[in-house]
Symmetry: C2
Subunit: 119 residues, 2 copies
Amino acid sequence: MTLKNQQETASASTCPMLQFIDLIAGKWAIPILYRLIVMDRPVRFGELQRAVGTITQKELTRQLRAFEQRGLVRRTVYAEVPPRVEYQITALGSTLQQPLQQLAGWMERYGDQLNRSAS
Amino acid sequence: MTLKNQQETASASTCPMLQFIDLIAGKWAIPILYRLIVMDRPVRFGELQRAVGTITQKELTRQLRAFEQRGLVRRTVYAEVPPRVEYQITALGSTLQQPLQQLAGWMERYGDQLNRSAS
DNA sequence: CTGAATCCCTGTTGATACTG
DNA sequence: CAGTATCAACAGGGATTCAG
């Protein structure tokens, strides 16, 4: 399916794009997935938090749980002291690498042309 | 730049992905741009609202103004009665077609594998 | 001490009007 | 028709508290 040739035919609810939105909408979904894909190994909560940047614990927890439920991230809890929880991108989650890379590529090529006055 | 070979080196603030987030974060940015790219002609406010789906007037107005400021959308006001305002994707905005199509493509290929229990 | 849940606050987004 | 105003709901940040 191409973007053209859809015109008025495709209603909003049938558009796959809108399914995608629920996944990546929000401030932190993409950065988290991005880091997990790049790291590509089990990562502890604290390490991931530092890697992502300034995200709060609450928000990171919420997002990771959402990804886990959707099968994009695997969560492993170790019954240790101190407690250790590791997160790793799944095979399904890794397939997001290409699309996300395209987004980053667009920003590199055209980001300079964006008027930033609005920010 | 590839996603690999960055590892821990790229801080969150230097990542072009995070610049992109400000553009497309939120529930409606991508659907709106998507429709404008698909239509690829001047579109009236009401028509665009119907095309996007269930978006409210307030939100559509806000997003369109933001896109206009960034140079992704051109807004033309006609001093008529009834008032007519037309929106059209710019050349810069159209360059988003490929990345957005990638996102739609991913959803088509892998969307079925997502656990939807969370929604 | 790490991961996470809870309370409180703020800014954004949604719903439903109403105005030019 | 296009946009605004008002109010309600939610997302997200900061700090604190809790469990293991």
